[in-house]
């Protein structure tokens, strides 16, 4: 079909309101981009970036009685402004064995739990990626469903499972096996982390595994490689971004975990999230808690950068 009439088509009248709005905004120097960016940028600056700066500032103060319970950094006295920075909190972090031990033990617990999660999550992700089409979405939904269910309630469910007279011990009792002590041990903390963070491991692994070209496996098999060899030299290296992304998604939050060690762990389970919590709520030493948070931030910064690189690799492939 060809248009017989004049080629210039006047814009439909309905468009006017939006055009007018935009023209008016442009007059004050506001472009569409600024309009889109202004709200999220301001919000995140004020409620994400500035708070971290405030934490840093208060970590350089000392505890004192009153409201707020920390010393002011800036003081004015007879016309001179004085800046007082206390390094005592950071010095304490390095000299007090409690903090050093808590950091090391958090990293150890998070690392071990991450490896266990990977060992359980990888076969699951692989099985889902190789499942028939119509099964795949259902299986994925089954993985995601617990993630949507309350984290706190899932940890609670585990306590009912592992208690002295819990489901596992009653089951073992049927075979005449003595009840095991599982609650309030580091073992329970491992189980708790693996149990609650398993979906975070499976999803990125699945995303990389499902995109692998099956022709590669066939080629490898044709060339005489056994399944184990194919897995080690083809599947595993190609799924590395998924492994890194999944591991970091478990490792980073696990380091700062508070709920799991306090509900499942024993008094000897030292984790830095719990130390920070006690410092704040029990000792009301806000500057010390802030210093603990800054040190924790340093510990997670490298894993966060690793995660960002791995995630862009997962998405792009």
């Amino acid at each position: 079909m060809t248009t017989a009439h004049e080629p210039t088509i006047p814009p439909p009248r309905r468009l006017r309101p939006w055009n007018a709005v935009e023209r008016r905004l442009a007059k004050v120097g506001i472009s569409g981009r600024v309009l889109v960016l202004v709200a999220p940028v301001l919000w995140l600056l004020v409620f994400f970036l500035v708070p971290l700066a405030v934490v840093f500032g208060i970590s350089l103060a000392t505890k004192q009685f009153g409201r707020p319970p920390y010393s002011a950094l800036l003081s004015t006295e007879e016309g001179t402004v004085q800046l007082t920075l206390h390094l005592s909190n950071y010095i304490k972090l390095f000299t007090d064995n409690l903090y050093v031990a808590a950091y090391l033990s958090s990293i150890r617990i998070a690392a071990i739990a991450t490896v266990i999660t990977l060992l359980i999550g990888y076969p699951m992700a692989y099985a889902i990626a190789r499942a028939p089409d119509r099964w795949r979405n259902i299986l994925l939904m089954l993985v995601v469903l617990p993630f949507f269910t309350s984290f706190l309630l899932r940890v609670y469910a585990l306590t009912g499972f592992m208690r002295g007279n819990g489901v596992i011990n009653q089951f073992l009792g049927l075979f005449g096996i003595e009840p095991l002590v599982m609650m309030q041990t580091d073992f329970a903390v491992y189980v708790g982390i693996v149990y609650t963070y398993l979906p975070f491991m499976i999803l990125p692994l699945y995303t990389t595994l499902v995109k692998l070209d099956t022709a590669l496996f066939e080629a490898s098999a044709d060339l005489g490689a056994r399944p184990a060899r194919t897995f080690l030299s083809i599947t595993l290296p190609l799924s590395l971004p998924g492994i890194v992304a999944g591991s970091m998604l478990v490792f980073i939050p696990a380091i700062g975990e508070f709920v799991i060690p306090s509900l499942l762990g024993g008094p000897g389970t030292l984790m830095i999230g719990r130390v920070l919590w006690d410092e704040f709520f029990t000792n009301t030493n806000w500057p010390r808690a802030a210093a603990v948070a800054m040190a924790m931030l340093v510990v997670v910064v490298v894993p966060i950068m690793l995660l960002q690189r791995a995630q862009s690799a997962v998405v792009e492939k």
Partner: protein, 269 residues
């Protein structure tokens, strides 16, 4: 690929591990005895007890309100952030912006909670706002981390869809704003729904951040549950958990069905 026996068995064990504790929790919510782990007969009395506990009901209502408001704020902010990240290839401070958007996803809760509390306290002493802590401060805190989740969900939908639809609208004379509301928004609507639901459930679930930024008299549901659970296992928590799990399962089921329907049918090879 040859299918071995290893994968199906590993996957089944994995799913059993994921679901066995939940299933046992649901079963024991119908237990008559106060002992949560010894079965003594079917009863729904713990559900009755639940609905006559004013502290629990009040906390639940507060949590639902906070979740709805903060998910809605996060929906707007997260969508705007996603549009900026997907559509604006280059602008000043893009790296910082994308870092700020995604960092709350992995930031340990104790740090986020402490940081926001210290901010609120510092703001109150210098600006006089916000006065005290309570629902408002919890909403602000939740909206901040939910924004990150909404942004991720909307981002993936935005980068998936065919941009030529937007270009066609603009060629036909639609302004950018009109194109956004008439073309872009309807297309990304399913992502908006799932982003909002995600924010809602995450807010409903948060214990640590809320504990830091809440004030006296504004205990959320997870805070009340946590203090109950610390004292030991109690059957009314099982009942509450069962109700929450049922609602969530229904929600996820509906969302999944909607997403599967909304997705254009691909040719299956």
């Amino acid at each position: 690929m040859r299918r071995g026996w290893f994968l199906p068995i590993a996957a089944s064990l994995g799913f059993a591990f994921l679901y066995a504790p939940i299933v046992s929790l649901v079963i024991f919510s119908f237990n008559e005895s106060k002992l949560v782990t010894v079965w003594s007969g079917f009863s729904t009395k713990w559900y009755g007890e639940l609905f006559s506990d004013p502290q629990l009901l009040g906390a639940a209502w507060l949590s639902l309100q906070i979740a709805a408001i903060s998910a809605s704020i996060a929906l707007v902010l997260g969508t705007l952030a996603a549009v900026a990240l997907v559509r604006f290839r280059r602008f000043k401070g893009r790296t910082l912006f994308s870092g700020m958007v995604s960092a709350p996803l992995v930031m340990p809760d104790v740090i986020t909670g402490l940081a926001l509390l210290l901010l609120f306290v510092a703001m109150e002493s210098t600006l006089g706002w916000p006065q005290g802590r309570g629902m408002l401060t919890i909403v602000i805190a939740h909206a901040t981390f939910c924004t990150a989740y909404v942004c991720v969900v909307v981002q993936s939908r935005l980068s998936d869809f065919d941009r030529s639809l937007e270009e066609a609208a603009m060629d036909l004379g639609a302004s950018p704003l009109r194109t956004f509301f008439d073309i872009t928004l309807p297309i990304i609507a399913p992502a908006l729904v799932s982003g909002w639901l995600l924010g809602f459930t995450l807010s409903l679930d948060d214990l640590v951040i809320a504990s830091f930024v809440s004030g006296p008299g504004s205990s959320t549901l997870p805070m009340v549950i946590f203090s109950k659970v610390k004292l030991g296992v109690s059957p009314d928590v099982n009942a509450l958990a069962t109700i929450i799990i049922a609602i969530v399962a229904l929600g996820v089921l509906i969302a999944t069905i909607l997403q599967l329907r909304a997705r254009p049918k691909k040719a299956r090879g």
